[in-house]
Amino acid sequence: MDTFQDTVLKLKHYWAERGAIIQEPYDVEVGAGTMCPETFLRVLGPKPYRVAYVQPSRRPADGRYGENPNRLYKHQQLQVILKPTPDDVLEQYLGSLKAIGINLAKHDLKFEEDNWESPTLGAWGIGWQVMLDGMEITQFTYFQQCGGIDLDLVPAEITYGLERLSSFLQGVDSVFDMEWAPGVKYSAVRLADEVQGSVYNFEMANVARLWRLLSEHEAECKELLAGYEKYPEKKRYPVLAAYEQVLKCSHLFNLLDARGAISVTERVGVIKRVRDLAVGTAKVWADQQEVA
């Protein structure tokens, strides 16, 4: 039986063999692998790109203090971007399932419509949730727009929910009982994150300070975006730094949301603030790619 890390290593290996760069996790908090610059920015423009990486993804509102067997505040995704999409992309994807030991002839596989949309990123795509024996194991998306920009080449995004996939392979009912490494349970590695993360996110995060931080990061981002036009040496301009500020804002929004600090009416407004930053950054980044 494969451990969690075996499965991760096999998937990385599989995609590396198919020409993907194996990136390491991004070091700023994100809600999903899609938000990493390796996806959000790289899908823009006409340059082909293939990349795969594991991304710990934080969703404060999903925390359950480690008491729910399937819900996590921080779960891990294996994100694959194939730009442009190869014609046999679904066959390649099925190959990856075989590579981690799933004998598809003995299981039930369905592709069910699920179109992905992220209002905060100004991004959307068309695709499916891939169901294996009634469980969603992958989100498959053909990106159409990102940061409000229509994409030149259509990338396929394959996002594996690693905890789900691995607990399925190991046949355990709770992710915490899954073996991460031989003799080491998932709970030994990650339970403390879940408990403490939930306590912080739900009970202790200082709401007033989070709002201030959100404004600070927003201001930093705006300032950076505003400075691009007059800056002479475009290639040196820290657009990537501006994007990190977007991610900070997005995470702070999620934290405030988990604290119940954002009313329904405010919500729309805050989402728009973050989207404006994301869209602004995408625009500047696309421009930077074009200048020689």
């Binding site: 729910n68 067997p69 399937n70 442009p84 999409t85 014609d87 679904l90 066959e91 099925l94 598809l104 002839a105 003995k106 299981h107 039930d108 596989l109 369905k110 592709f111 069910e112 419509e113 179109n115 795509g125 068309i126 499916w128 294996l132 024996d133 009634g134 469980m135 053909y142 159409q144 229509d150 994409l151 030149d152 080449l153 259509v154 399925f168 046949g171 009912d173 009313s263 329904v264 009416t265």
Partner: protein, 634 residues
């Protein structure tokens, strides 16, 4: 010749397939009619009896005037690729009869099919090559296009048509050469059942044999989500049966696409039926996997149930202030206050008012946040569990009903009043800020709400006058729904509905009574001719610009005129329509023998008065001039 077209795609959303097929069925195949079929991965068109070529045709080309001379004629003929001797004279001009040779069907189809395929309308399309590439519902990966034994050559998004299909993703071969005769059998060998009706039948038969409570919507979904459906039965721990059947069924049906299984005494059995997209589950792995997922789902539901019980519905009313109903219309707390007041105004008793107060509280529960389809139902279940009177909990449970034209209205008077008040409030509120539905845009489902109001008023026998419930644009909007309801749901003819509504609407019960009345008399032999006469009378009055006047009986001429007067004056205004229909011979005789436009203006005036008097007298039920009679048909 026969034709086969298979558009091979990645998985198309199940709910879009039937409408795509309806469009493909109208495909122009040189006159042959198209037979269509589909699975999630292929749209298929087949036709027989196409002609190989379109027939040759004659075309007449007009030439120069004869007066222009031989030179001009020769020049014209040369330009047309003909000899001058072929020209003939027509009037003052030369003309040439040319034979245009027909085209090969294959050429025509090769030209027309790509745009016909890409012309299918989908709710949402994508591009998959690059930004300028074609748009379709999902990427096209292969195309089979055969006319007889020849490939119809064309290309879409880099995919060339050919004679090679693909089988089931997992169980079939990836590349299968076919001809028209072998196509369907080859697919079957490769675990693709092409015909939807056959997949549907397989699902129904197998699921029913396993004890599934069949549900036609779910059967349809599964039919178009599979290429080779096979049903299996799974189990869950009977302890979960403590959760309400509604919750269990919703989890199974909406989240997992499983059928529930009926148990003893009408309850649920601790089983489910799943439909796989594969041929079997010999090792029980699929069963085990599905059981595992369902267990986690049920655990969540039980967790939500337990958490929600920590705060009673009645204690959640204030929390509704934090739930937005609509940005401009404020919160659900405000809506609740309005609905409670309206229930009171409509004469709802204490129980109805209590139900109105509690009916939206489940929006703050974890259960409804997770299973939004269960709003109302969850509130009702919680109200019951928390000791609210049965009549209150049931009213809360049912207050979203009727959800559709087929759905029943709530079963109790309290439930009906709350349902009516809730929908009416939504309508009034949205109309007050100008949020009327336009075209296909109806984000607040106001049409459905209005339809619900109509259904409640009629089927609940509620004695509210429409005027007292709505005014202005909302009144007109409801009237449209009244027409729709009586026509489409109740099957009255549109002219009957028009005739009855034309003379005004008080309660909908009254409208229904009058409609039944008209529909009952309509088939009697005298009715339509009488309606035609009434229409004639209407026209006469309109032409004479006559509104009304007093009938002077002494001016009536003895004979048909007097006889008609006496016949109608003797009838009760609200009497049986059958009697009114009996007037027909009198009316006919009157028109046959009496001239309305008498030379004496006094006589003329009196005759018009009599006609208008008669019309008005019998127009309390319906305006008969709206009835379409055989004489009206074009």
């Amino acid at each position: 010749m026969d034709l086969l077209l298979e558009i091979g795609t990645e998985e198309i959303p199940h709910w879009m397939i039937p409408s795509a097929l309806a469009q493909l069925a109208k495909l122009d195949l040189l006159g042959a009619s198209a037979n269509v079929d589909a699975t999630p991965r292929r749209l298929v068109v087949r036709a027989t009896g196409l002609s190989e070529r379109t027939p040759d045709a004659e075309q007449v080309v007009k030439g120069p005037p004869i007066t222009a001379g031989d030179k001009a004629a020769e020049g014209f003929a040369k330009k047309q690729g003909a000899d001058a001797s072929a020209l003939r004279k027509a009037g003052n001009y030369y003309e040439l009869v040319k034979t245009v040779s027909g085209r090969a069907a294959s050429d025509i189809l090769a030209e027309s099919l790509p745009s016909a395929i890409l012309g299918i309308q989908w709710p949402k399309t994508m591009y998959w090559t690059d930004r300028n590439g074609p748009r379709f519902i999902r990427p096209i990966r292969w195309i089979v296009a055969l006319l007889g034994d020849q490939v119809i050559p064309f290309e879409i998004a880099g995919v060339k048509s050919g004679n090679v299909t693909r089988g089931h993703r997992i169980l079939g071969a990836a590349s299968i050469p076919v001809n028209i005769a072998t196509y369907e059998p080859e697919l079957r060998k490769n675990f693709v059942i092409l015909a939807a009706h056959e997949r549907r039948h397989k699902i129904e038969k197998e699921a029913a044999a396993l004890g599934a409570k069949l549900d036609s919507d779910l059967v349809e979904t599964l039919t178009y989500i599979t290429e080779f459906p096979t049903a299996i039965k799974g189990n869950f721990n009977p302890l979960y049966l403590e959760l309400p059947a509604e919750v269990l069924t919703t989890v199974m049906r909406h989240h997992q696409k499983y059928f529930a299984v009926e148990g003893m005494q009408g309850g649920l059995a601790p089983n489910f039926v799943a439909v796989m997209n594969t041929s079997g589950d010999p090792e029980g792995l699929v069963k085990h996997g599905n059981e595992r997922v369902l267990k986690a789902r049920f655990n969540d539901a039980r967790f939500f149930w337990n958490v929600d019980q920590q705060k009673k519905l009645a204690d959640r009313v204030e929390d509704l202030a934090k739930v937005t109903f609509q940005a401009k219309l404020g919160s659900y707390k405000e809506k609740t206050d309005r609905v409670v007041a309206l229930v009171k105004e409509l004469g709802g008793d204490e129980n109805a008012q209590r139900a109105a107060l509690l009916c939206k509280c489940d929006l703050t529960t974890e259960m409804v946040k997770e299973f939004t389809d269960l709003q109302g139902v969850v509130g009702g279940l919680y109200a019951k569990a928390q000791g609210e009177p049965e009549v209150v909990s049931r009213a809360v449970y049912e207050h979203y009903k009727p959800l559709s034209m087929e759905d029943a209205i709530p079963g109790t008077p309290a439930g009906q009043i709350v349902a009516l008040a809730d929908k009416l409030d939504t309508l009034r509120s949205c109309f007050s800020i100008g949020m009327m539905p336009t075209g296909s845009k109806d984000p607040f489902a106001l049409r459905r709400a209005a339809q619900g109001v109509v259904k409640l008023l009629v089927e609940g026998d509620l004695e509210f006058k429409l005027d007292s419930l709505a005014a202005g644009e909302l009144h007109a909007f409801l009237l449209e729904r009244v027409q729709y309801y009586f026509r489409e749901v109740r099957g009255f003819k549109y002219d009957e509905v028009n005739a009855v509504l034309k003379v005004g609407v008080s309660t909908l019960k009254d409208v229904e009574d009058r409609l039944n009345h008209v529909a009952r008399v309509r088939p009697t032999p005298n009715f339509e001719p009488l309606a035609a006469s009434f229409k004639r009378i209407n026209n006469i009055l309109k032409q004479a610009n006559f509104t009304q006047g007093l009938v002077d009986a002494s001016l009536l001429e003895a004979g048909p005129e007097k006889a008609l007067y006496e016949a109608y004056a003797g009838l009760a205004a609200f009497g049986p329509l059958e009697d009114v229909a009996e007037l027909r011979p009198h009316v006919d005789r009157f028109f046959d023998t009496v001239m309305v436009n008498a030379p004496d203006p006094k006589i003329r005036e009196n005759r018009l008065s009599m006609l208008s008097d008669m019309l008005r007298k019998f127009s309390s039920i319906a305006d008969f001039s709206e009835i379409v009679t055989s004489g009206d048909q074009k």
